[in-house]
Amino acid sequence: MVSALAVQVTDLVMRYGGTTAVDCLSLGVEAGRITAILGPNGAGKTTTIETCEGYRTPQSGVVRVLGLDPARDRAALVPRIGVMLQSGGAWSAVRADELLRYVASLYANPLPVETLVERLGLASCGRTPYRRLSGGQQQRLALATALVGRPELVFLDEPTAGLDPQTRHATWDLVIELARDGVTVVLTTHYIEEAERLADQVHVLDHGRVLASGSPSQLMASSTADSIRFRAPAGLDVAGLGAALPTGFSVVVEAVGQYRVTGPVSPQVLASVTAWCAQQGLLADQLSVNRHSLEDVFLELTGRDLRA
């Protein structure tokens, strides 16, 4: 049976020395969609994606990419996939257009190099050696080399890390266009906005495990805690406000004069908050109702500890 999944990872385990980089991880990637693997540094994103690319052999578990075993069937797989590594991958003296033409020459039906160069704003660095390109230019060149062979599936490892906003948006447009033209896209990122904007499907990873999977809206809906924020004079009777609200709500002081009510916000609850303030003779200033963002979900899932 041919799987409808372009990538299927089942119970993958990868250990290095004493550390477990990937811990019994399972995830799927639907063909023709954009899938984001979102997680903090060290979550196991790169190990997972590099195992899918065939660079590492699963120590335990099964990985299938386009129905193939990426380690064993590498020769059959590589012409069909495009790979953008997190860094490096080019000779220091190679020129941008030279590298792109070279990589194009390894494929049967490459994209016209000029088109890619233009799309990614690389025209100005055609004859510049790789080592003198800016970080953003190097990254765009790496993206171009991942796409030039017209793959059916691309793996982009942190494609926009460190890019300026213009370049990031240009990259996003290209990724969306790829999916529209029928290419399956798997990208890793620790930018929540990137996952939220681009991905049809997000897998949130941490400590080598999938903590949650779903579309960005599903992930946001799965979280119950919306919030109301407002400003009022310091010393507000927080407990009193809490008592005026249905159970399941909490009121906290976020900063001096800045309050947050957390819970499943409804029009009635909003009315209760403002009514209570009116009773106290207070003006609730700068009041806002906050839908839960993917960022909140992400932080809720992965915790707030700082990562290396």
Binding site: E53, G54, A75, L85, W91, V94, A108, P112, L178, V183
Partner: protein, 258 residues
């Protein structure tokens, strides 16, 4: 005509095209690298001109100096390209993730190696042409005949294989900086102590049997005989072959791609 889309159309290029493309790129990169060019062309030509015109500062043994010197400089050119240049370039390809990145393209590892061999032979062809021309201008009178020409080609190919095996072994196991240092050091050591420019007969008799086992000695001594129309000792080819097989097997076993 419609705008080209990004729609998938995967597939590998024909193998020969990949190998040719890789060989041409590597040769171009080498030609662009100042230090490598110095090693490949400038130093051999300087040694040839300097050695021929210095008139006996270094004793090269009996015979015309230029006839002894030119084959040695050709051997040096092979050493610089197939050993030093290759080791340094490959070491940095490993360091910069080039080999890793190429691993995700349709170019197979065998194609990569063939491409490297192609680049080496291209560069060596340019070196041989230039050195031979300068040698002829300086009065070199080679008299290899058909058999000597065949020996010359066989020795250059075997020498390239031996040195390339050693280069890959080094580049695939050491850090890039260590490879850089060691490859340059060995180049100088072999140049001075490996009977490259100075014939084996000019070395002390006691150490000659040891020197004869070096690939540099085998290549240079073989070329000196072949290009002078003398009989070539087949041992030279055996020595080069043994180095090629030994280093090749070790490199195949221990080379780390990342």
């Amino acid at each position: 005509m419609t705008t080209p889309t990004l729609a998938p159309a995967p597939g590998s290029a024909p193998r020969l095209r990949m190998v040719r493309s890789h060989a041409l790129l590597e040769a171009r990169l080498l030609a662009r690298n100042g230090e490598q060019l110095l090693l490949a062309l400038v130093i051999p030509v300087l040694l040839l001109v300097g050695g021929a015109e210095s008139g006996g500062v270094v004793d090269l043994g009996d015979g015309r100096r230029i006839d002894i010197l030119t084959p040695g400089v050709l051997a040096l050119a092979v050493l610089s390209t197939s050993f030093t240049s290759l080791a340094i370039a490959t070491g940095f390809e490993r360091r910069y993730g080039v080999l890793k990145r190429l691993g995700a393209t349709p170019l197979p590892r065998s194609g990569l190696l063939l491409g490297k061999v192609g680049a080496l032979l291209l560069v060596e062809a340019v070196q041989v042409a230039l050195i031979a021309t300068v040698g002829l201008i300086l009065g070199w009178q080679p008299s290899p005949g058909i058999s000597g020409t065949a020996w010359t080609l066989a020795l250059i190919v075997a020498g390239t294989a031996a040195f390339a095996g050693l280069a890959m072994l080094m580049a695939g196991t050491l850090r890039a900086e260590a490879t850089l240092a060691a490859a340059n050091l060995l180049y100088v050591v072999l140049l001075l102590g490996g009977a490259v420019l100075v014939p084996l007969s000019s070395y002390p008799e006691r150490i000659r049997p040891l020197l004869e086992l070096l690939p540099s000695t085998a290549l240079a001594e073989g070329l000196r005989a072949a290009l002078d129309g003398q009989a070539v000792d087949p041992t030279h080819l055996v020595v080069l072959g043994a180095w090629a097989v030994g280093a090749g097997l070790l490199a195949g076993r221990f080379f780390r791609w990342e």
